[in-house]
Subunit: 392 residues, 2 copies
């Protein structure tokens, strides 16, 4: 048996969410557990056309090895799209990655020694917790209020010698919380003051259906760290194309080395098709379509929760993204509720895995992007029934 | 500045080969430096058709997130292809990876603690040296004879407490050397006896144009380790699809955890197109075409070396693959020769980066897969001239 594993493997486990997804494969279950974009909105015909054009026009070079940095045309388009939103980004500071998950792996590889302090939000994004855990940091968590992190806790963590701060300031997964303009400025000021690397993960930023677009924390930093983006939520996740903006050349070069060692480069086929799709289609119009749909689904879910959930249950009211966060009365276990909910044929993700400190027992995550309004009404009424019975 | 990097980054550098490729971008230079398959042989029209069928038939699901383990149909095809060559493999023991480079990263992550002893061939595959280096092992090298590793050196390394042995037994990159049947059995026996994990990398195994197909070392092991494969050399590298066979369930599960943290899963688009291509085309016929072409190019290169290289220069005579290895007389530096060769408008890769111990100064690698016979004759005559002038 070859079962003498590296020490780092002892702290990580298979994603709890992926295990839950297996339980919810039953088609009778209405699942708010997943984190999937709505496939009805995928631009299938346009991608078909784009891929045909790629093979017809550039043929073999779309099938060949390519550079670690990524397709130059694709990086130029990403930079142009940032410019439209008021952010100047040098295409040469953009590294294409195999989904934005890969950025978490390579940035941890580049920056983290065992025991380094990494600050994350509480609750925090599970994919980041998993990727970082393999490099054995010490996690320090800061509470997430309705408008962003608790600044006193954040400063205390920074003072205590944090190496980096990882956060999702727009419509966070799992909580749906967004940072206010004031907190964005304050976070930037603190990361600059304490020279903490801020890793800003922004997969949902364009999916805002309420309120006004707010600038990235990155744009307020005098010494910007890393800004991570992805095509998964605005086009389609199956391509596995994300990117990281790393303005400091010395940092960019290290990320390239780590990326090269990880997979040489991201699929040339995926990149070529995505680039062609972006060149020949109006992605802004497509994103508007997604926003409109998710906005309706989110409104429906909030309304139905008001109608079907018992008193004492509170929720976040996300202005965008794909998730909404539920807090049950103190002392109630969402893990136990999960089993009761499955009997009612409805599923969610219990909140505890999003807390590295083992708290969050009375919380849970609901996804609204991947269910239409009919299923949302039915699912929320089932869940309300399960919670009601449970609270008695 | 965010320039406080993890300790592991101090030992690794940007790939020397990739830097060389920049020098050789000049179209007047005949380059034997790269490691590219011949793009003239890429099945562009079939891939175009396959991708259209994917979008037309399964549409949105080819664009959605998918499982970490990889497409079940694709894994079944890989298992069937092994069966044709006499190797029984359970599709559930196959994990699809983002190129076979990713296996090196995730297997190092799963198995290696800092200071663990990793045995590699001397010279060794550069991509593996880079991937492993990030996990700070102690490299132990064993000489590569014309028929495989020196068995005494290998046993001594195993006795000294090696954790794993990484090797490319078929037409190795960089040397072109293949293991004899006897050495395959002996290596399997030794890895079993000392309980060393054998990581067998086999990207070129199907590209044999001389001699008889030999079984994998993996097939001789009583406790088989990991067998790595790839579509890069038999179909096209741009998809970034490799795989690893891990028969021990406990090992497979750990690799899945590491893969999930690294990039969630390999491009659904890439996997779907590759699967459809394999279902609707005769890949064996296609591989035969590649073998025939590379065989001719290799024969031409060996012949021209006989004609144009001065005495005192020795070469390997690969029975397959993409590379051939040149040894200059003792004391001659291939690094210095490189500059002289560039003046003659011909390029190769100096051998030193393939030696972790800094030796190999008088060696170099030539690629024969990506040049036709006309360019091979002209390039080898230029290189012969450069070597001749250099040895005077």
């Amino acid at each position: 048996m070859h079962d003498t594993f590296a020490r780092r493997m002892s702290t990580v486990h298979r994603s709890f969410i992926r295990e839950i997804l297996k339980v919810t494969a039953d088609p009778e279950i209405i699942s708010f557990a997943g984190g999937l974009p709505n496939p009805e909105l995928f631009p299938v015909a346009s991608m078909d056309q784009a891929s045909h054009r790629v093979f017809a026009d550039i043929g073999a070079s779309a099938l060949q090895y390519s550079t670690t940095e990524g397709d130059a045309g694709l990086r130029a388009i990403i930079a142009e799209r940032y410019a439209k939103r008021g952010l100047t980004v040098d295409p040469d500071s953009i590294l294409i990655t195999s989904g934005s998950q890969q950025i978490l792996d390579i940035s941890a590889k580049v920056f983290l020694d065992k025991g380094d302090k990494v600050v994350i939000e509480r609750p925090g994004y599970l994919g980041a917790i998993q990727a970082f855990s393999l490099f054995e940091p010490e996690f320090v968590t800061v509470s997430l209020d309705h408008d962003g992190p608790d600044l006193d806790e954040l400063e205390a963590a920074f003072k205590d010698g944090a190496k980096c701060f990882y956060a999702v300031p727009n419509f966070q997964n799992p909580s749906g919380v967004s940072y206010s303009l004031e907190k964005r400025r304050a976070v930037a000021e603190l990361t600059d003051r304490y020279n903490v690397l801020f890793v800003e993960d922004d997969p949902y930023g364009e999916l805002r259906f309420l309120g006004e677009h707010l600038p990235t924390v990155f744009s307020f930093c005098k010494q910007p760290g890393l800004l991570c983006g992805s095509f998964s939520k605005i086009a389609a996740p199956g391509f596995r194309i994300g990117w990281v903006v790393a303005p400091e050349k010395v940092v960019y070069d290290k990320l390239v080395i780590a990326k090269q060692a990880a997979d040489l480069h991201t699929s040339t086929v995926s990149q070529s098709i995505m680039r062609r799709y972006l060149e020949e289609n109006d992605i802004e119009k497509h994103v508007a379509l997604i926003r409109e749909r998710y906005g309706r689904q989110r409104a429906c879910m909030v309304e139905m929760i008001g109608k079907y959930f018992p008193d004492g249950v509170t929720i976040t009211r996300p202005e965008g993204g794909m998730f909404l966060w539920v807090t049950l009365p103190e002392g109630v276990s969402s893990m136990d509720l999960f089993d009761a909910a499955i009997k009612e044929k409805v599923a969610f993700v219990p909140g505890r895995p999003f807390y590295v400190d083992g708290s969050g027992e009375n919380t849970l995550r609901l996804n609204f992007s991947n269910s239409d309004e009919v299923r949302i009404e039915e699912g929320i009424s089932r869940l309300g029934r399960a919670i009601g019975a449970f609270l008695k």
